[in-house]
């Protein structure tokens, strides 16, 4: 019976893994080393600004171990969603780390770099052609969403990665990729069942998060066979149980029975989870159902201004019991003092921790019950200077605001720091989260082959 072993060292490149687990994984002679390097979870900033949410030093540490092991064993190393978001600056950032490692370690290999940036003119044309589909509860796309976005990426499926493998790539650095693809591509290329390969990839992309105790920074081995796959954590202190694995299938998904991705859906209605030994779980019955059209999910983020925040606390019960009317008064003072700035041109918010700071509108019990509150004053405006001005004025007004019954006439706020205000820089929002129909799954994802010779081209 043939099998393909896939080693996933860590949930996100840069989250780390114990060396002992990695060595235990390599001792199992994996056919491929794969890692997911990104996520949209950290929010729109990282895609919009072209910045990685992972730390360079930590990414280099993980990647160096993977590249050395991969070259030693002559097995492919595949990295998906490079630099956290997979757009051009993220790819370049990760490529530079790879070159540095190769230079320092004297590694030589054929590297495929697969871009995932989508051309705005192409998208505007596809928008007119009705090829861009909304993903509810998102809103239909408008021209302005495309035009204003700094970076727009598409989630590639397995096809561009298989193409890179076919081109003899030994290391693949992919832009935005559907998470399971980097783990499933080699197996699908070898003719294994697509549904099983993708479902295994869906679990491996979080490494040992699917184990018990779970960890995003420990290694997991997936073994794919013709009609099932096995999952085994490589740290002897962890185990996979049917519930830990099944529960992970729920993770971050709308509906665990039906997991949509590029070109189709992983259908888990018939999936079976069986405990085959104390630490190993067997999964079978996962199916891939191709869609009528091959669709690719596209993601974009656009700038909406600049932010300044100020962090403080309050301990005075009289102040706390009057907080709503006080904040209303402060807001009115801000508007009045800068009457030449239209209030709709900036955003001023007071986040009250200890009341509804965490849940906002969803908080079922927005009442202060403790003896202190945390206050974050936030201003977002078209320019950093304006955000600074609004935040600073709101902060100083709140500090000295006189309210009925006030005894603490020296000041209303306890500031955590000096300076009290922090420039948070550019602010982005997700502007695109839609589907585009494509005829050729490889067409939007151009590949470049580089011969890395100890880091020199």
């Amino acid at each position: 019976m043939r099998e393909m072993r896939v080693l996933s060292p860590t949930a996100i490149l840069g989250y780390g893994f114990p060396l002992a687990s990695f060595e235990a994984g390599m001792a199992r002679n994996p056919h491929v080393l794969a890692v997911d390097a990104g996520s949209t979870d950290p929010g729109p900033y990282y895609l919009g600004a072209g910045v990685s949410f992972t730390d360079r030093f930590a990414v280099k540490r993980d990647l160096e171990l993977m590249l050395r092991a991969g070259r030693e064993r002559k097995i492919p190393v595949i990295i998906g969603t490079a630099g956290g978001s997979g757009a051009k600056p993220h790819l370049e950032w990760n490529l530079e780390i790879i070159r540095e490692i190769a230079r320092e370690q004297g590694l030589k290999f054929r590297l495929a770099v697969i871009g995932s940036d989508l051309d705005k003119d192409f998208l505007l044309k596809e928008l007119e052609n009705g090829k861009l589909k909304v993903l509810p509860p998102g809103k239909p796309l408008e021209r302005q969403d495309i035009e204003a976005s700094t970076y727009i990426v598409g989630q590639m499926g397995v096809e561009p990665i298989i193409k890179a493998l076919d081109s003899g790539a030994e290391v693949i650095l992919a832009g935005r990729a559907y998470d399971p693809t980097v783990f499933a591509a080699l197996a699908i290329k070898a003719g294994y069942d697509r549904g099983l390969a993708l479902h295994m990839g869906k679990i491996l992309e979080c490494a040992s998060i699917a184990a018990l105790p779970g960890s995003g920074s420990d290694c997991m081995l997936g073994t794919l066979r013709e009609d099932h796959f096995l999952l085994e954590p490589l740290n002897p202190e962890r185990k996979c149980t049917t519930t830990s694995v099944a529960a992970h299938t729920l993770y971050e998904k709308t509906n665990p029975y039906s997991l949509p991705g590029p070109g189709g859906v992983i259908d888990l209605h018939q999936a079976r989870f069986e405990q085959v030994s104390e630490r190993v779980v067997k999964v079978s019955g996962s199916r891939f159902i191709p869609g009528d059209m091959y669709t690719v999910k596209i993601e974009g983020a656009k700038p909406i201004g600049f932010r300044t925040v100020s962090i403080a606390g309050a301990r005075d019960p009289i102040f706390i019991s009057n907080i709503d009317s006080i904040l209303q008064g402060v807001r009115a003072r801000v508007t009045d003092n800068f009457s030449h700035i239209p209030p709709e041109s900036y955003y001023l918010q007071f986040h009250i921790y200890g009341r509804n700071g965490v849940m906002g509108d969803l908080e079922p019990d927005p009442v202060v019950k403790g003896h202190e509150v945390g206050i974050v004053i936030e201003a977002v405006a078209p320019a950093q200077d304006q955000a600074n001005t609004i935040c600073s004025f709101a902060r100083s007004t709140l500090l000295h605001y006189g309210y009925p019954g006030r005894l603490s006439t020296a000041g209303n706020l306890a500031f955590l720091y000096s300076p009290s205000d922090f420039k948070a820089g550019a602010v982005f929002r997700f502007s695109i989260h839609h589907l585009v129909e494509v005829d050729d799954p490889c067409a939007p994802f151009p590949m470049e082959l580089l011969e890395i010779q100890g880091g020199e081209l």
């Binding site: 929010g43 665990p256 029975y257």
Partner: protein, 105 residues
Amino acid sequence: MSKRVRLTEVASVVRSKNAGPYELTLDIIFPDPETYRRAKGQITPELIARLYRIPQSKIIAYVEFDPAYAIKATIERPRASGDLGETDVYGAQQHAPLLGIELEL
């Protein structure tokens, strides 16, 4: 004879997380098939809507996932992850209203 127990005493996982930038997904996982079976009829879309003070139309999916002994509800985020005024970028701390659920077991 059934008795009234708190969800926190019988569930093994109660959590929330983003499912993409516009959705928040809530998972309740039980440790055994029997507790799960008896809890199923009691944790309903109506209850989720009431706990989060949202209309049922904001519940995008409600799924009972037998392989994991799990009940899952996905709701529309009031604001997209990271949007202005949004307070939980990862959506990882929106589960607290579920912790007060009581079940007849």
